[in-house]
C-alpha cells in the first residue's frame, strides 16, 4: 500500500480513492471534516442535523468519486459547493424558506450553547447580526471565517474574483461592526 502524507495533494487522494484505496479517502476526511462540520453547524444551528448533513455530504462525495470517476481539480471548493447544494435541499425539505434565494440567509433559530470566550448573549448578538447581512456577505463570512477557506477556494465557490471577494469581506465586517454597535442598538 502506498504511503500517504500531509503533502499529498487532494486531487491525488481523490484519484487513489477512485482506485479503491480506503486510507486515501480517510485522509481527505481528516483534512476537511472539521471545517465542513463547523460550516454546516453554523448554518443549521442543530447538532443532530449538522451530523446527518456532514455524513450525507461525505457519502455523496465518495459516491461521486467511486462511480462517476469525476476529475475534481479543487476538492475543497468542490466539497463546499456540494455542501451548499445539500443545505439548500435541506432547507427546502424543512420548508424554512419558500424562496431559494432566501436560503442564503441563516435560519432564525440560533444556537447559543457553547463554551468559549464569548458568553451566550454575545454569541446570539453576533449570530443575529450575521443574519442581517445580505446573502453574499453571509456566504463570505461563512466560507472565510467559519469554514476557514482560502480566498482562492471561496472565490471559486462563489464565482467571484479574489479582489472582489476582499472588498465583500471588508464590507461584511464593516456592516457587522455597525450591527453590533451601540448606534444600531439605539436605532432599533
Amino acid at each position: 500500500m502506498r504511503q500517504l502524507n500531509t503533502e499529498t495533494p487532494d486531487n491525488v487522494l481523490v484519484k487513489r480513492t477512485s482506485q479503491g484505496y480506503g486510507n486515501a479517502f480517510g485522509e481527505l476526511y481528516d483534512r476537511h471534516f472539521d471545517s465542513l462540520y463547523r460550516y454546516i453547524y453554523f448554518r443549521v444551528s442543530n447538532k443532530q442535523d449538522a451530523e446527518d448533513l456532514t455524513e450525507t455530504i461525505f457519502l455523496r462525495t465518495l459516491e461521486t468519486i467511486l462511480h462517476k470517476k469525476k476529475n475534481i481539480k479543487n476538492f475543497r471548493a468542490w466539497l463546499f459547493r456540494l455542501a451548499h447544494n445539500i443545505l439548500v435541499d435541506h432547507y427546502r425539505s424543512r420548508k424554512f424558506h419558500a424562496d431559494i434565494d432566501e436560503v442564503e440567509y441563516l435560519p432564525e433559530i440560533i444556537n447559543v450553547s457553547g463554551e468559549n470566550s464569548l458568553d451566550g448573549s454575545d454569541r446570539k448578538l453576533l449570530k443575529d447580526a450575521i443574519t442581517k447581512l445580505e446573502p453574499d456577505l453571509q456566504k463570505v463570512i461563512s466560507y472565510r471565517f467559519i469554514a476557514e477557506l482560502s480566498y482562492a477556494e471561496t472565490s471559486e465557490i462563489m464565482g467571484l474574483k479574489v479582489n472582489h471577494l476582499r472588498v465583500l469581506q471588508h464590507r461584511a465586517l464593516k456592516q457587522l461592526k455597525y450591527y453590533l454597535s451601540k448606534d444600531f442598538k439605539n436605532h432599533e
Partner: protein, 328 residues
Amino acid sequence: MNDRLTSVLTQCIDGLERGEMTLIECVENYPEFKDELRDLLDVMQSIKTIAHEPVEEDFRWRTRASLVNKVISHKPASIWDKFRLWIKETSIFRNRVAKVQIVLVIALLLSLVSGGSVLAAENAVPGDFLYPLKMFVEELRMAIIGEDDDVELHLRFAEKRLREVESLAEKGRFEGIGTAIDRFEYHIEGATRPDLADKKHDDILRDWRLYELSETIIKHQEVLERLLEDEVVVDEARAAIEHAIEASTKGQAKLNELFPEGFPAKPPIESIPAPDIPKPQTEPEFEEVPGIPELPVEIPVDTEVTPPEGDEGVLPIPLPVGSPPGRP
C-alpha cells in the same frame, strides 16, 4: 469603500491566519487605520470563536470507518458496468419500443458484419474463439433491456453458463470451467440483487418469478453436485465447482433474506391473471338470400329417392379383389 483600508485589512487577516502577527502588531503597523482596523479584526476574531463547536468524537470516527469501509469493499466498475450506465442515462434507450428496435438493428448489423458469427457463437463455450462474441451479445442485451427483464436475463444466462459447465466437463475441457463458473456467479448475484426487496410482495406474477428463481437455483446446485461426484473432474475444476455451489447457496440465502417472513408459496396457476385477450366480435347474422328455398326441417324416411335423369345407366365401380400390391 476605502481601497487602501481593504488592502490593509486583507494583509492583517492573512497575517493573523498564518500566525505571523498578532492583532496588536497589525494595528501598530497601520496607525492611520488604528481604530477601525482594531474593530474589524475584533469582529473577525469573534466570528472565529463562535465557529468552534465541539464534535462528538464517536460520530467522527464511526462515520470515518464506515466511509473507508465503503471504499475498500467497492468493486471497481467494469467496462460493461460503464456501458450499462451510459445506456441507462441515454434518453433514447428509455423507450421500450426504441430498445427493441435498437437491439434488432444491432443484431442485424452484427450478423451482416460478422457473417453469421453471432449465430455460430451461440454454442461456443469458454476457450472457444467465438466465446467473447457470445458474451458481448449477452451483455449488449442486458444493457439495453430494462431492469425488470434484467433479472430474467440473468437467470437465463446463469442456466446457459451451467450448460456450458456440463458441456466442458463432458468434453474434458476443465480449464474453461472456472470462466463459466465466474459468469454463473455474476448472473446469480445479478438475479438476486437487493433491490428486489423493494418490489411489491403481493404481486402474484413477481412471486411466481421468485419461486421459479428459487427452483432454478436448486436445480443448478443439483447439477453442480452431480458434476462434483464425477471422478473424472480434475482438482482445479472441482474447486471451481465447489465455489459455484457456494455462490448459488449464497444466492438462495439472499432470496430468503428478501422474504424474512417465509418464501412465497408457489401461487396457484388459476390465480395468475389471464392475458387480456380481446373478446371476439359477435357473429354476423346470415341474411336471407332471395330465391333460395328453405331446407325442410325433417326429411321423411319413406321418401323414395330417385336418381336424376340421365344417371340410370351408370354402374357402381367394382372393388378390386384380393390384397393390394406389395402386401401379403
